[in-house]
Symmetry: C3
Subunit: 667 residues, 3 copies
């Protein structure tokens, strides 16, 4: 099912070779060539050793249909190479030239309302357009033929942030093709989609459409399949280009950059098709939980990579797509970059090297900002480059598996967040973030895993919420507990099968059995700002009317019960042996305490004892990273003798960290 | 004008025959046939005596154009019949099969922006499509021919929740046809629409369109007529199918289910075309005034039916279309169902019997929920079925006219809630609900009436707000007061004539004369959260700068005056004899007190004296229903000796009711 | 560049001739002719001396293609003339007849999503439609030929509130034509738009489109040029009609009415094409700063006119397009009308004379409202007419230049308010209003000026925010300071050049030099409700990380520094000689105090000393207008001896004003 176990032919290690990759997207086509020479000088001074070229160069390379203008890129590749900087070369297929849309309007996507997405922005391509695919393959072929063996080239980068949708007519055709592959027959599709409801039965494949604008709610399985299909169509585009560049560069790894926890791609499946798993990461510098968001995405990406990974894009300062965009205060860029290294990154890169003066992202920061060489941003980038050079040999290639896994899965997210559900207040990401935060604040490092993965190596498995679970996944969870594992499971888990069909009893029987739930009478979602009082804590978002049937199954323990209201006295948290069920979302401190207790029972310890919440500790190889996310200096206990690779100081038992301070402790 | 006075050939009484109808929508096409047998067993155990079949069966019956698959329905009708359950058979025309949209895109509606509403949801049909109407007639004809005499059949149900709009080209044609019928000449249309404003005059019928997307405000009379036309087009669809089934089942009544106080249909007009008036009712279980919303819709439906009516749909637990959907707490389903019976329902039905496992409404509750037979929901349904069986013989067929009528009218609603008015804060439904609530909390049972109805039987007539009134309606109100009736009238009444033309003086002169208003200088709408202080209360939403001309007309009394602000000292509540004018919306307690006083003066008494607000008392026939809408037990005075039909207890002067408790007291 | 310096052939003075024009839009086509006679009687009684006819008369004049129905207008012109009322005659081209849209759908605009704007509202014309322009020219030609010499005619009024956009195919063609004119070559366009970013390079003119719906952010220079183009296309429409009427009425002035500070038109450029500059003005009667909004628009319009101007539209009472629309309380219409006269208006007119009974604006007030002749509104209009008659001879034609100018420019507004910027909280109008309010509350009368205007006559120039500045404008500012002028400049000024290209260093080097900014490290926008503490005040919206390089340039003074937070100790307000830079938006009292101080230093005094904030004082010619915007009476010092032209009283040193009171003091 999940392709992540396939062996990678080549990988990040082949590029890294003891150095943390440091650099970013480089778009010199925006500048006269004299600027290029200043660029490479400043790159060298900053320790840049890798740049990504070509992401948005299609129109430059092919300004007219069939033209090929490679001269500028030849010069650029050579220049970069002469300066000892490696190149991640991108296929330019995420932003086709204007002539493609004009001559071939079939390459433009349509939304659910039938509106065209025109050129003039970016990503104006339909994944389903045969014309688009043909032109993308041609430019990829020629690019790979020309540069596939260039000495500067270290890695291929396909497209950029795949994230488009198409509801148009050609997409309707590929949707039907995808559905035929999935279901074989219309009968099977009708059964899977439950088309008997609302008279939606299909008698001819040509009747099947993407879920376009409808009078009232669309068929939810159709919507779910459309998301699956979209992820798979984009993956087809990726694979097609990957296979071309592989032919020309058999010994170089291939990647494409994910957006962080992006709803549009089943990244478990995609990761299996990549040689290097890379991600873009943009927490809000003003978000008090920005560091935890970073940790979550880093844990997720490391788990997809099953080892070191690449931070392809981050911002040296502000982004420009929020309502209010804050720069990074002094030290934060360094802190968050080293956090990524702590959690497995072997590459720390940025969008982009030099901040644009024109275009839609001219207020998105660069490593070299509008303020130039004297600007604080570049000065800090330079310092960071030097530090990464220092720690590179000790950290790169290191990978420490965790004892705890959080289960996450895209199909459950897609199915669970549709219209027509019981509460729009419950957001999948918010719930996953709340559970990860509890473990992060408890200083317990976690992996993420797919619910069908082999979980036996983990002491503790946590399921924040998996509305949809396949039979295989459910059996996997049950077997995991039977095999001695400890499982904690949040509400709205195991409700639906893979066709988004509600399981009998409203929740899968095997899971109800596992947790000791005899009858799940009713779900009681909580409104905005509403709480459910429980023994020892307050629950948010959700509550449930459960009959635990305690008289028959004496091993079922209600660890906390609802107090007052309609659910008074009913169980809020159930435990049956090593299986825990949490029918609400406890407030943060309560969830942390609950998970700390369960983890301790499962033999899982925090990285360090007694750390304050805002200090993060992570082990990578033999190194211990300690990061102060607070704006106040702090002193923490680190029993033992260490050398701090950054400060070149000895540390014995006690470590002082300034505001946003980091230590990389070597025993 | 209003067709409700037409004699009904056959009616609900012909079906009811002493039993409260109990059951609901039954969509067994979603389930394998073995489940059907479990269904009828559980229906019997729950006392179900009526199911609605076929609402969404078109694609099942006609899976390909012209096909007829009746075998499954034959078996189902027979099975249900063998188990003593009657069938309300629906024409399946609200959700056409996918092939119809594909082969005939002209059957799909377009919105005001020109966007198509595709199949894949429900109700994707254009009321104006000749192709749709032809196919709907054909399936109706064959269905009626096959089952019109089936012994299980008790009633025909046409379509489902008519609620669609169409701004497309074929609709433009039927709109013009409707306008020709209304106005005869373009000159008359130009006059009615006031097209001299903004250069909108029409010189050719073909220039006239539905009110599509425009640069700025659409012509308001065009918008009003488009709503009238839409209601009439849907009614044409209904009548066409009704006439077909009547031909095959001359002795069976025909209905279609209204949505509660739905803006899209002039239900006064529709009710006149139905043999049985039925409604769907879904108050939010968490709404503290949910019971009053129920009472309002029940009073409205009873008034449209002029006697017993059918509760076609309600939810046994939660719905799934609100932002946060709560289940019904223990006892609430029983309480609200018996409230409907108290206010005239002879049928208590649900959407739907068995909760769906698939499709867009799988989280909408059923009588038999996901939790199954042991679930609380089904257990409570079963108890209710038994109770309805017990009280059926005494209550069915009973109808008690009220002494008080609230006037309500769709055209006034449509005209008054357009863009370009003085305050978007004033919502018609909100104002009507506020006035009904005042009477409901005063324990005064009310009918609803159309402003052109004969009102002479009422002691008190209340007009919360009728922005648009025809001359006939105004004369009717004046005559009602002249004839001895008491009238209380809220602001924004009598402003416009039936073409939405503002009447001279800003409010009809006959009404100003009636209330003693010499000059209505200015309207002063109040902002959100703003109040107008008046003697004795605070007004909300609205205030007015009125010159009552007291020196000339000494019989005009200002019962309350504005205090402070620009209106200081001007009248807020005016009385001239038996005519009262309220120029603001008093806060709830003040409006209740005001109406209690006026009612007392008109000789109208509450059902019971001294009841707390949350206890509702209603008489039906000789029975006295007493319902505790509170979560705390309560004891109330009920002078006299009664037998409680539900509890089988004797009640003398004092009645104790538990949380959500109900008593049906027989003298 | 800016055409405002062209000499006006004829102007407002030719019409005014010692009378304040008083009247408004008159749309008698909505009424039977008997009403016209009542209209002129009531006009005469109210002192009306000018009406605007024909604004929405196209369908009345040309009910069928090519027809000409002038009889009614002949009668109307004669009637009005006989009653001594002048006519401002409008070309009716803002609202084409329905047949035009039906026969020529190419005349209808399309929005960025491709949706048509249909007839049935108003302004449903595409500025780019050759068909529309041809029909508009024809009706204008015939109208001008017929009435160009009519004795009632005093002025031509072209179209009405030009404000439309078009993204359709014909507009794409005119956009390309406009771009060719601007750039000459595609290379120049590619450079200006920075199309190297995101692969947007154009190789063929036909590829260039209006900025239609895109997947992600549109190219910002394309968006900016589309706004420039739209303003210019509308101006082409205006000029075409103007030239026609000028041919027929060479001695009459021509105008078109601006909306107040409307984003869609570069009014500096437009004003240069008008003989009379006129504006519509609708502050919210409930806005506590409504009077200041009025003053701002009046100052702006006077500056565009470089002398007396025309208030073309205001409301005698409420409008009908806000969420909640309040009438004007007693006295407010007089107060705000006299404020306009104080600030240079020689015409006080309304939309509209008689309130409509039908159509989309029937709840927009008229001089003669629904309440009629006895209504308060008309009574107050009548009083105002008498007062204007009294003061007309002394005020008309007078123009007093100010010592202070606020710089304002549309291209800076357009470029600065796009998507993809650092803060959506920063609104251009809000910032300009805040700075104008500070000066208004300091009783310092201001002009507005274009940044390329000759500023040498001003003692103080204030730049609230000009994100985009041309090189010419920057040199102009620098020269102004070098020449002895005092300049105060707010944040986000001089960031971009005229192609929206960020200037090196993030802010123009000449300006950084002028203010003493060595390095602008980072912008720190503030969130909603967030403050930046500074010495002496709190800043809002924005803050900046600036290195002022004080050690080298000792003449740079930090007048206030940030306190606490990331910017602790950095300069918030910088001064270098007569150039001031304010890197945040100080709270109102602080900004007022700051500007009072700078103004005093530049030798600028308030109109009167010691006035409370809510009292406004303005000089026009020799007259001193004193206006009390408060609801409480007030007494103020006015040193000297005066005669109050309104109250016919003598005033010596002290003036008492009632609620909303006004005095027009003559020495």
């Amino acid at each position: 099912m999940c392709a992540t176990s396939s062996h990678r032919r080549v990988g990040l290690a082949d590029v890294v070779r003891g150095r943390v990759l440091f650099g970013g997207d480089y778009n010199p086509e925006q500048w006269p060539e004299e600027v290029w020479h200043e660029d490479v000088r400043l790159m060298r001074e900053a320790g840049v050793n890798s740049v990504t070229l070509g992401v948005f160069s299609w129109a430059k390379i092919e300004p007219r249909p069939g033209a090929r203008e490679f001269g500028w890129l030849d010069r650029l590749m050579d220049l970069v190479h002469e300066n000892g900087i490696g190149v991640v070369l991108a296929t330019p297929t995420s932003s086709p030239p204007s002539w493609l849309g004009r001559l071939h309007p079939d390459t433009l996507p349509r939304d659910a309302d039938g509106r065209t997405e025109w050129w003039g922005g970016r990503q104006h391509f339909s994944h389903s357009s045969a014309t688009y695919r043909r032109h993308a393959a041609a430019i990829t072929e020629d690019l790979a033929a020309r540069y596939g063996s260039h000495p500067a080239l270290t890695m291929w980068h396909i497209n950029n942030e795949y994230c488009t949708y198409d509801w148009g007519d050609e997409a309707a055709g590929t949707f039907r093709r995808w559905l035929r592959d999935r279901y074989g027959t219309l009968d099977a599709l009708n059964t899977a989609w439950g088309t008997a409801f609302w008279s939606q039965g299909y008698g001819d494949w040509e009747e099947v459409l993407p879920p376009r604008r409808a009078h009232y709610l669309n068929n939810p399985t159709q919507v779910l399949d459309f998301k699956r299909y979209t992820s798979d169509m984009l993956l087809e585009c990726y694979v097609a280009e990957r296979d071309i560049v592989r032919r020309h560069s058999p010994d170089l790894p291939v990647t494409t950059n994910f957006m962080p926890m992006w709803a549009g791609q089943d990244a478990w499946r995609w990761a299996g098709e990549e040689d290097v798993v890379s991600v873009d990461l943009y927490p809000d510098p003003r978000d008090p939980f920005g560091a935890q968001e970073g940790a979550l995405v880093q844990d997720m990406t490391r788990s997809q990579a099953r080892g070191p990974w690449m931070l392809m894009e981050q911002a040296a300062g502000s982004v420009n797509w929020r309502g209010v965009n804050h720069p990074k205060p002094r030290g934060l860029n360094r802190l968050w970059s080293l956090q990524a290294v702590a959690r497995g990154a072997d590459a720390v890169c940025y969008f982009q090297w030099r901040q644009s003066r024109q275009g839609a992202e001219k207020f998105h920061s660069g490593m070299l900002g509008h303020a130039g060489e004297q600007g604080r941003t570049y000065q800090e980038v330079r310092q960071l480059g030097a530090e990464l050079r220092r720690i590179g040999p000790q950290v790169t290639g290191q990978h420490n598996p965790s004892q705890v896994a959080i289960l996450h899965e895209w199909h459950a997210w897609w199915a669970g967040e549709q219209d027509g559900r019981l509460s729009r207040e419950v957001g999948y990401q918010q719930v996953v973030r709340a559970w990860h935060r509890a473990l992060w604040e408890a200083h317990i490092t976690t992996d993420f895993a797919h619910p069908e993965h082999d979980l036996s190596a983990y002491r503790l498995v946590v399921v924040p919420q998996l509305y949809l679970l396949t039979d295989t996944a459910i059996d996997n969870l049950v077997a995991y507990v039977r095999g001695g594992g400890t499982l904690v499971c949040g509400f709205l888990t195991g409700i639906a099968d893979e066709d988004d069909r509600v399981r009998p009893g409203g929740m899968d029987g095997r899971l109800r059995e596992l947790f000791g739930i005899r009858t799940l009478h009713e779900w009681w979602p909580l409104g905005p700002g509403e709480y459910a009082e429980c023994d020892g804590f307050r629950g948010t978002l959700w509550s449930e009317e459960i009959d635990a049937g305690t008289e028959e199954t004496e091993d079922v323990v209600a660890l906390s019960r609802y107090k007052g209201g309609e659910l008074d006295g009913l169980p809020a948290v159930l435990r049956r042996g090593r299986a825990w069920y949490v029918s609400t979302l406890p407030e943060p401190a309560a969830l942390r305490e609950l998970l700390e207790g369960v983890a301790a029972g499962a033999g899982v310890r925090p990285v360090l004892d007694g750390l304050p919440t805002q200090v993060e500790a992570v082990r990578r190889g033999d190194l211990l990273f300690v990061l102060n996310h607070g704006r106040e200096p702090v002193t923490v206990e680190v029993p033992g003798e260490y050398r701090d690779l950054l400060g070149e100081r000895r540390v014995t038992d006690t470590l002082a960290l300034g505001r946003y301070g980091v230590a990389v402790l070597s025993p």
